[in-house]
Each structure stands twice: as structure tokens, then as C-alpha cells.
């Protein structure tokens, strides 16, 4: 007998039968009810003064607005409205949310629900996040409105400990699984036998980089430098630099001199923002980061270390491709680049996002072309690293969470 704690649609414990119960009706792809439901959730998220200032909540709130969802709908209309096939839900989808990126589970749920799927979302039992708690409260509140009650059958947000029995039970009773949470989680769930028909959408560990054109930053106004530092801070520090999309290496494009000026210019602006917004965390992480810097220095890897406080470390490395595993809480490696085309040899399969600053359109184009065939999934401006897109890790999640039925008419007899 399996019992799990349910957070949504109501907070209570539920049994295995309830966990996988089928809805009575069906939900269309981009159903109007779904769109207005998320619009309602968005309004609830954005109207709370305690939470709407948190960047991840604000970003989520804006993403869920009907205007944004309708834009996505239009962008996908070419295949959803195609003549020779019809788009159908996968069926029942199990989402395993990452433990610490608070908002991912809702993006995942939203896309899946827009495709008409029934959803079981597991959030980590070690979760102690007021943000998650707040989001769930907003969802539950919206579900209480008459017009959205029907959606209750499609959303089940639950939690349970490390229980293989429950993992197995859910995995063998769904049509699709969306596994966030990095390598260990992906491998863990891959090892659970599911039906051969079950579709897995997996998100292993990724790392991300940033590319700055030194001259553009060096010649920018003080105000522009501050804005950039803010944007870069949001990308780099929001998830303690450990999000898949958080930059770990900063590639500096330009001459040797320009690079040196850049490091000296970026440091004070970035660390000023970090001092304001990351003070306590910087204090807690100080010895970990300092120890790591000492390790890097002893191993003779460091060309130059810019760090007058523990919020921000900019470490120029000798290694061609530094090992970025440690980079956390504001420990950025600097690598000098003479030209854009050099980057292609430095990006492994693990690289997901490349944020850029100061590149002209033709340079972004050159970058994109030089990366042909490489597995870099996003090239976006600094400040947009964490902005969720329905095309994630190279997959259009709307397509991944639906299936297409080919329809061909027979000859008229």
C-alpha cells in the first residue's frame, strides 16, 4: 500500500489508486481553460508583495501570462495546426523536479498541461522552500475557482522520501517521464524499468559559459556597466552559480590588454552588486572558495586572481578548458579569446547556455555558424541565462510532451 503526501490540488495524503486516477473528460491542446488558469496563477504570483520581488518568481509570473502563452501558441501553430496530422497528449506524465531550482516544476507542468496531459509532479521531500510553498498555494487557490475546478484532475503535486516502491509504481503507470535534477537523478530513474512505450525526457547536468566582447564592456558608460553587472549577477548568483544555465567561465574576446582592463573593470561592478545581494552567502562560502583558489594556485593553474572580497572571484586560468565542477557562489574562471572561432574547441557536450555581451548581430551569427554541429543549446544575451524557454536543452518541450497522429484520407470510392 502506497501513501504519499499531496500538496496540490489539496494538501492531504492520498493512496495509490488516487495517485494514478484518470480524469473524466479530456483537455484540448492549448485549451482555453488551461491558458486562463495559468493567467490566474500568474496574477496571484505577481500580486504578492512578499514574493514578486524574487527574480525567479517574477520571471515565472511573466512567463505564465496568457499573452506569453499565446505567443508560444502562435510560434508552434505551424505544427500544431498541421493538416496531415493531429496533435494528441502523451497521456499521463510524471515530472521529477530538481530539489533546489524552485520554479522549474511549474514550467514543466505548464507545458505538459497545455498539451493536455495528466500530470504527477514530485517535488523533493527535502524541499524547505518558501517559494515552492507559495507557488503551490497560488495554484491551489486558482484551482478553487469554478471555471478551473475541472483541471484538478490533471494536476497532482506530491512529495515522498527516497522510496523506490513509489518511484516504481508511478514510473510503470505513466506514459511519459520528465526527469530534472541532473545526472544522478537521471541515472536513477533510467534504471527503473518502465513500459517500453513510456517516453523519457531527461535533463542531465549541463554547464554554461559567458562571452564578453571586452572592448564593448570597457567602453560602456558606468551606468551600462552597472546594468550589465546586475544582469550578470542574476545569471551567475541566483542558484549559487550551480544552475545548469549559470555561467562558470567568462570568455573574454579581444586583445590581451583589453582583457586585462575588462577584468579590472568588471570586478568592482560585479562585486558591488554581490556585496549588496549576496553578502551573507558570500560570508558562508568564503573558506570553500578561498580553499579552492589556493588549490588552483598550488597546482600552478592560475595566471591571475582578481578577488578583493569573497563574493566574487575572477580567476584567469592557464588550462585550456578549466574544470568548472567547483565553480559555485561567484567563482568564475576567465579565459582569453583572440577570436570568436576559437570558442568551438572549448565547448564540450555538457555546455548548454552561452550568454553574450557586446556582440554585434553579425558576430552572433559568426558565433552560431562556428558552433555548427556542437551541442550548445542556447546563445542568449547576458541577463537571460535563466529565462526559461519552451525549447530547452535542444528539445521543443511542446513537441516532446505530445504525439502526432498521421491522418491520410482514402481515395473517394
Amino acid at each position: 500500500m502506497i501513501i504519499v503526501t499531496q500538496y496540490c490540488p489539496e494538501r492531504k495524503t492520498i493512496s495509490e489508486a488516487e495517485l494514478i486516477s484518470d480524469p473524466s473528460g479530456s483537455l484540448a491542446v492549448f485549451d482555453n481553460a488551461t491558458i486562463s488558469f495559468f493567467n490566474k496563477v500568474s496574477r496571484l504570483l505577481l500580486s504578492d508583495k512578499n514574493y514578486n520581488r524574487a527574480p525567479e518568481v517574477a520571471a515565472l509570473g511573466f512567463w505564465l501570462r496568457s499573452a506569453n502563452i499565446e505567443t508560444m501558441q502562435k510560434e508552434n501553430a505551424h505544427w500544431i495546426k498541421a493538416k496531415n496530422y493531429s496533435v494528441n497528449p502523451l497521456g499521463k506524465v510524471f515530472h521529477v523536479a530538481p530539489s533546489n531550482v524552485d520554479t522549474i516544476f511549474l514550467y514543466s507542468l505548464c507545458i505538459s498541461l497545455l498539451m493536455g496531459n495528466v500530470n504527477i509532479v514530485r517535488v523533493s521531500s527535502s524541499f524547505n522552500s518558501p517559494v515552492v510553498d507559495f507557488i503551490i498555494t497560488c495554484i491551489n487557490k486558482a484551482l478553487e475557482e469554478n471555471e478551473f475546478k475541472v483541471l484538478k484532475q490533471y494536476i497532482r503535486i506530491i512529495t515522498y522520501g527516497h522510496d523506490e516502491k513509489i518511484n516504481n509504481f508511478i514510473s510503470t503507470n505513466v506514459n511519459g517521464r520528465v526527469i530534472w535534477g541532473g545526472d544522478s537523478t537521471v541515472l536513477h530513474f533510467k534504471n527503473i524499468a518502465t513500459s517500453v512505450y513510456t517516453k523519457d525526457i531527461l535533463f542531465p547536468n549541463r554547464i554554461s559559459y559567458s562571452l564578453f566582447k571586452a572592448s564593448a564592456y570597457n567602453n560602456a558608460t558606468t551606468e551600462a556597466k552597472q546594468v550589465c553587472a546586475h544582469d550578470f549577477f542574476n545569471d551567475g548568483y541566483t542558484f549559487d552559480q550551480m544552475g545548469c544555465s549559470s555561467p562558470r567561465i567568462i570568455f573574454v574576446l579581444g586583445s590581451e590588454d583589453e582583457k586585462e582592463v575588462f577584468v579590472k573593470e568588471l570586478y568592482p561592478h560585479l562585486s558591488a552588486v554581490a556585496q549588496k545581494r549576496y553578502y551573507e552567502q558570500a560570508r558562508l562560502l568564503s573558506s570553500q572558495k578561498y580553499n579552492h583558489l589556493i588549490d588552483d594556485i598550488i597546482l600552478n593553474k592560475v595566471i591571475h586572481a582578481e578577488h578583493s572580497n569573497n563574493a566574487t572571484y575572477l580567476i584567469e586560468m592557464k588550462d585550456n578548458i578549466p574544470n568548472v565542477e567547483f565553480c559555485q557562489g561567484g567563482y568564475f574562471y576567465i579565459k582569453h579569446l583572440n577570436e570568436i572561432s576559437m570558442l568551438k574547441d572549448m565547448v564540450s557536450e555538457a555546455v548548454q547556455t552561452l550568454t553574450h555581451y557586446g556582440l554585434e548581430e553579425h558576430e552572433v551569427d559568426e558565433l552560431n555558424k562556428s558552433l555548427y554541429g556542437k551541442r550548445v543549446d542556447r546563445v542568449v544575451p547576458v541577463g537571460q541565462a535563466l529565462a526559461f524557454h519552451y525549447i530547452w536543452d535542444g528539445m521543443n518541450l511542446f513537441e516532446e510532451l505530445s504525439r502526432k497522429r498521421v491522418i491520410e484520407l482514402g481515395k473517394n470510392i
Partner: protein
């Protein structure tokens, strides 16, 4: 003042002006020595500390955990006389500290000078609140073994309170106390061992003549909500122990210990010092503010451990003006640095402990 007289003179005698000059000279010389003899130390200093030094606060500091990941020494392999290992925090790689004869001698001399301050010149009958098994393997000492051995030179007729199965030898203890009635007794053990085996156990004894010296950190004690005052109060109530001295020290700077005074503060001896640094930017902090403890010692010659940034937090209470009349800086330790909770995408679902092989 040369190093021997610095160690051998009566401790806690130098005032701020005298001490800062003497210590700075010694540490500057040690810094120069390690620059020449430890390539790793040199690399760190060249990269991170290139300003000219004008005071103690300018002496480069390296993190204490460095000795876990790297073999740092300023002597040749032939000169290594002893390697100290410390277990550090449970489960982590141990530190390895390479000592030559000189350094080991200096450490012993320094420690005895500090201890004499509270136990006097004579060796006292000694009870060790531990098992003899911790010192049996002479090839590799644990931190506990090294501590017990280091302290045992201040006692005689050593009696180990615990047998090899960690049972209290009550009869042995009674015999020992009967034999050494009305004479001062030295009692030594690690703080949590003392608590567990003297306070929490059923042992009954009159230890009013004992001088208890203990060390090893308060982490386990704070989990039991026992602070220094409670610790002293309870031991006095139960066993009559009047004189209790905690000390702060580490395997990475053996001999250089900070001993507690009657007023409950840890004191820097003449040949060592502390600086409290702000965790945000490592800037030195003044009195009354909690920060990371940096320890300085003139003893570390065979390895570059003369200036270490610890992972302990503490507060500088004052300098030269403690009610106990000892000179020098005095401070308290408030605990280990807290570890940050990191966010990030990975590790939703690592297997529970029991499933790991």
C-alpha cells in the same frame, strides 16, 4: 629576542607594543624562509599577497585545510622526523604535517611552557580520560593519540580511565585516587570524552584536587546544549573539580595552544597570536565582532604553517587587559563556520545512505 627565549620566558608577559614587534620580526623571517623553501607557499604569496608587509596583519595566511590536499613542507625528505596526521572533521582527508627535529622540539618546549602556567613545574600524577589504545600504534597517531601523548609528558604514574573496550575502570580509578590522596592531580581528556565518561557516566570520585585540562572543540557539546560555563558547573557539582582549563589548538600548529584563563577567555602566548577576520573580505575585525580565526605561531619552521586561516569562528574580547592579568590578546571561539546551503539543478534524488555500497 631569539626564538628560544621567546618560548622560554614567562608566558603572557609581552604587551601589545613589545609583542607586535617581536612577533612581526619572527614571522617575517619565517615567511622569508618558507618563500625560499616551499614552492607551494611561494606560489600562493606571489599570486595573492604582493604588497609590502608592515604589520602582523599583512603576513600572508593560508587556509588550514591546505594540509589535507597538499604535502607542504620546507625541509628535505631526509629531514622529516615525524609526520602528524589529524583526522579533522569526520570523514575528511587527514592533514599531514611534516616536522623536523627542531620544530618538534620547539613545539614540546612551547607546550610545556604554557602548561606550566597552570600546573606548575612539577609533573603531577595524571589521569587520562581515554583508552590506552589511542596511543598504542606509534606509527600513526590519530589527533586524539597525539594529544594524549603530547600532554602525558606533564604527568607521571599515568592512569588511563578507560580500558581497551572503552569501559570505565572504576576500581583502578579508586586505587589511583587512594594512592595519590591530598596531592594535586592532572586530569586530561578531550572535551566530549570528559563529558561522556566523567559527567554522564556513573563514576563517583572526589576530584577536588584535580586540575582538568581539556580540548577538542565544542561541536558535540553544543549539540547537547552544553557550553563552557555549564561544563564547568556540572563537573564541579558532580566531582568537585575546581580548576578547569579548556584550550584551543590544532594539529596544524601543535604546541601553539591558546589556554583558557580563570575568567573563561582563551589567551595568546607570547609566541603566538590570533587575528579575527571578516568572512566577507578577510579584513581584520576589531573587538566584539565575530569572524574567522587566523592563528599565527613562530613554531612552524619545517612546514609553512606559521599563519593559518582556520574554519573556526570567534570573537576578540580584548588585549592586555584581561582581569586575569595575562597580557596579549584574549578571545572566545564561537564554533565552526557554518556551511552554506547551495542551490543548483542537480541531485534531486541521490540514493539514501543505506543503498550506497
Amino acid at each position: 629576542m631569539d626564538i628560544n627565549s621567546l618560548i622560554e620566558t614567562k608566558q603572557y608577559s609581552l604587551t601589545k607594543e613589545e609583542k607586535s614587534k617581536v612577533l612581526f620580526d619572527h614571522l617575517k623571517r619565517l615567511h622569508g624562509y618558507h618563500l625560499e623553501n616551499s614552492p607551494e607557499y611561494k606560489r600562493i604569496c606571489l599570486q595573492l599577497f604582493n604588497e609590502p608587509m608592515s604589520s602582523l596583519e599583512d603576513i600572508p595566511y593560508i587556509p588550514v585545510s591546505i594540509f589535507k590536499n597538499h604535502e607542504l613542507k620546507s625541509i628535505t625528505n631526509d629531514e622529516v622526523f615525524k609526520v602528524l596526521t589529524s583526522s579533522g572533521t569526520s570523514g575528511s582527508t587527514p592533514s599531514r604535517i611534516f616536522l623536523d627535529k627542531d620544530t618538534a622540539n620547539l613545539q614540546t618546549k612551547a607546550l610545556s611552557n604554557i602548561m606550566q602556567y597552570v600546573i606548575g613545574k612539577d609533573r603531577l600524577p595524571m589521569i587520562i580520560v581515554d583508552s590506552i589504545s589511542v596511543v598504542k600504534n606509534r606509527l600513526s597517531y590519530s589527533a586524539r593519540g597525539a594529544g594524549v601523548l603530547g600532554m602525558s609528558i606533564f604527568g607521571k604514574y599515568h592512569f588511563y580511565l578507560l580500558d581497551e573496550q572503552m569501559n570505565i575502570d572504576c576500581e583502578g580509578c579508586e586505587r589511583f585516587l587512594a594512592k595519590h590522596k591530598n596531592t594535586p592531580i592532572l586530569l586530561f581528556g578531550f572535551t566530549f570524552m570528559v563529558w561522556q565518561y566523567l559527567y554522564e557516566s556513573s563514576i563517583k570520585a572526589d576530584l577536588s584536587e584535580a586540575i582538568l585540562i581539556h580540548s577538542g572543540g565544542w561541536k558535540k557539546m553544543l549539540e547537547k546544549a552544553v557550553d563552557n560555563n555549564t561544563f564547568k558547573k556540572r563537573l564541579k557539582e558532580k566531582l568537585g573539580i575546581q580548576k578547569v582549563f579548556n584550550f584551543y589548538g590544532m594539529a596544524e600548529q601543535v604546541g601553539s595552544v591558546f589556554l583558557e584563563c580563570e575568567h573563561g577567555y582563551l589567551h595568546s602566548p607570547n609566541f603566538a597570536d590570533v587575528i579575527v577576520r571578516n568572512p566577507f573580505d578577510f579584513a581584520p575585525m576589531g573587538k566584539g565582532q565575530e569572524g574567522i580565526i587566523q592563528v599565527l605561531s613562530v613554531l612552524a619552521k619545517s612546514y609553512p604553517g606559521h599563519s593559518l586561516l582556520t574554519e573556526d569562528m570567534g570573537i576578540l574580547v580584548g588585549e592586555d587587559d584581561c582581569k586575569c592579568s595575562r597580557k596579549g590578546k584574549y578571545f572566545t571561539i564561537t564554533g565552526r563556520m557554518k556551511k552554506a546551503d547551495l542551490r543548483g539543478c542537480s541531485d534531486t534524488f541521490t540514493a539514501p545512505e543505506s543503498q550506497k555500497v
